[in-house]
């Protein structure tokens, strides 16, 4: 097929959700738009359990769609909020995963370093273990905010919407978690910028 044409503007997420109230099949379009991103976010946090959680996220979203309210044009914050809430049941799994990653990088990475001529890569890879250990030590509410910011790339207002908490709380949790991360990484030989 070689016909060129300008694709029509896709409907906004708000519009899709509104349409799905009378024509539920439209909700599948939200899945197609966001399932990959949500899965990646969940997989970084709980590994293989993401397969089931991404399904639970969209099923929950579909069932809750009548209560959807967004100040944004897209449903990302809402979906990430549901996914993050579902992670509560997996808090121990998540923590164990980080601790296991910290141990595995401690044990194995140095051997590979000797085979790797890139010094920069060596330094950066060496941070995987303390990064994972620091994540394991964070309180769950702080970790949620930090990872929604770092991995889901949501803004302050979007995180507030996702977790239904005030923006001020987002700021304070993010500041605290970033400070703890910097402290945990401070002993490693890599420049950490001071950030507000």
């Amino acid at each position: 097929v070689t016909t060129l044409h300008p694709p029509p503007a896709p409907p906004s997420d708000d519009e899709l959700i509104r349409r799905s109230m009378s024509e539920p099949e439209h909700f599948a379009e939200l899945f197609d738009k966001y399932a990959g991103d949500i899965h990646r976010y969940l997989a970084r946090r709980v590994g293989d359990a993401a397969d089931d959680l991404v399904s639970e996220t969209f099923l929950a979203a579909f069932r809750q769609r009548s209560s959807y309210r967004s100040v944004h044009e897209h449903a990302r914050p809402w979906l990430y909020g549901i996914a993050t809430n579902l992670l509560r049941r997996h808090a121990r799994t998540e923590q164990r995963r980080y601790r296991a990653l910290a141990r595995s990088h401690d044990a194995g990475e140095w051997e590979r370093f000797f085979e790797d001529e890139a010094a920069e890569r060596l330094d950066a890879t060496a941070l995987r273990a303390p990064l994972a250990a620091a994540l394991a030590d964070l309180a769950k509410p702080d970790r949620d905010v930090l990872l929604l910011f770092a991995w889901a790339q949501l803004g302050y207002q979007e995180i507030a919407e996702a977790l239904t908490i005030p923006v001020g709380t987002v700021r304070s949790r993010l500041n605290r978690s970033r400070r703890l991360m910097r402290t945990a990484l401070a002993g490693h030989d890599l420049t950490i910028e001071e950030t507000s």
């Binding site: 060129l4 694709p7 896709p10 009378s22 539920p24 738009k33 399932a35 993401a50 420049t191 950490i192």
Partner: protein, 344 residues
């Protein structure tokens, strides 16, 4: 490099989403959608919702009108054809106990895919792809027993070189994901009464007792079809959708009810009849078309030699762009695993 960047680049790796995992999650969502209590529309029976983008009619995907004209109301010729179809429907074989009504649908949907998140300038490029799949079902001849439902993905490809360039330049990650979605065959065998199978609704999935209760008088039947128009598209458009939903299980619908459905469709206010219609796979039939209040045209094509629905096409009535196109084949299978040698 601050701690946020470090987290992004050197935090725990995410195992790549397996196509089967996303396909399974999507199938579960579609099953939930199918089972929801909202008013049903034909398109839901075919799985994926109509997507944002449409295929601009290029002759490739539009239902072609060959020879016959399109006009409102049933013409004398169409009435004759419908009469023949009703008569033919009475002679279709029926499945014996232990056999299965087999239906195979080839479905194509046009999907507009935005590149999200927006780029640093706030722009959201989009590209269009055509997704195809085949849905096959085996419904037991008796009201209980196992039913088998299978979905085989077809190729997803760009509609144009422009779409390919847009995707590859702006969002290769999104492109890769669309290459994976639906890439796995899904299959399930359900043991439930027909009325409780996935997709059941006011006009779908009826057992013999329920089918016996639908009126055979076309005027009474069209009144029932017109009475349920909850989706807000207008009663005539909903009535056509309801008729095709009622007809949805094809050969398992009793011949006299099938005949009544045809005649009722011809009575839907504002319906246009395409005397000679040709489906995308080259079969000829008679088409019924209604334009809804949002400008969407639904056309149902019936094969007069069998009295079976052989195609459904949904288009933008103003631009001719095709949103969805499907063709259907029917047969009687001897087992849940067999494919009928004779198909209609």
């Amino acid at each position: 490099m601050n701690e946020i960047t470090l987290l992004w680049e050197f935090g725990p790796d995410a195992p790549a989403a397996q196509p089967s995992a996303l396909s399974a999650a999507r199938a579960q969502l579609l099953a939930e959608i199918d089972g929801s209590s909202a008013p049903r529309r034909t398109v839901r029976r075919y799985g994926v919702g109509i997507a944002a983008a449409a295929i601009v009619t290029s002759g490739l995907l539009a239902v072609q009108l060959v020879g016959g004209g399109t006009h409102r109301g049933a013409s004398a010729e169409a009435a004759t054809i419908l009469g023949q179809a009703a008569a033919a429907a009475a002679h279709l074989p029926t499945a014996a106990p232990g056999q299965y009504y087999y239906t195979r649908r080839m479905i194509e949907t046009a999907t507009g895919v935005p590149c999200l998140p927006p780029d640093k300038n706030g722009n959201t490029p989009a590209f269009s792809i055509l997704v195809s799949r085949t849905e096959t079902q085996w419904l037991p001849a008796s009201d209980s027993g196992s039913a088998r439902m299978k979905t085989d993905p077809g190729p997803a490809h760009f509609l144009s070189a422009s779409d390919a360039a847009t995707a590859e330049h702006n969002c290769p990650d999104v492109l890769a994901r669309y290459g994976q979605v639906g890439a796995e065959t899904s299959e399930r065998i359900v043991q439930a009464p027909i009325a409780q199978l996935p997709g059941a609704g006011p006009f779908q999935r009826h057992d013999a007792a329920s089918l016996a209760m639908w009126p055979r008088d076309p005027r009474k039947l069209v009144a029932l079809l017109l009475d349920s128009h909850g989706a807000g598209r207008g009663a005539p458009a909903e009535a056509l959708v309801n008729a095709t939903d009622l007809y949805g299980d094809g050969a398992s619908i009793p011949a006299d009810l099938r005949s009544a459905i045809f005649k009722a469709m011809a009575l839907i206010p504002g319906i246009a009849v395409v005397d000679e219609d040709v489906t995308s796979d080259g079969r000829q039939g008679v088409g019924f078309a209604v334009v809804d209040s949002q400008g969407e045209r639904t056309e149902v094509v019936i094969d007069p030699s069998t009295g079976l629905v052989i195609s459904v096409v949904r288009t933008d009535s103003k631009t001719g762009a095709v949103y969805l196109r499907l063709t259907e084949h029917y047969g009687i299978a001897d087992s849940l695993r067999s494919v009928p040698t004779k198909q209609y």
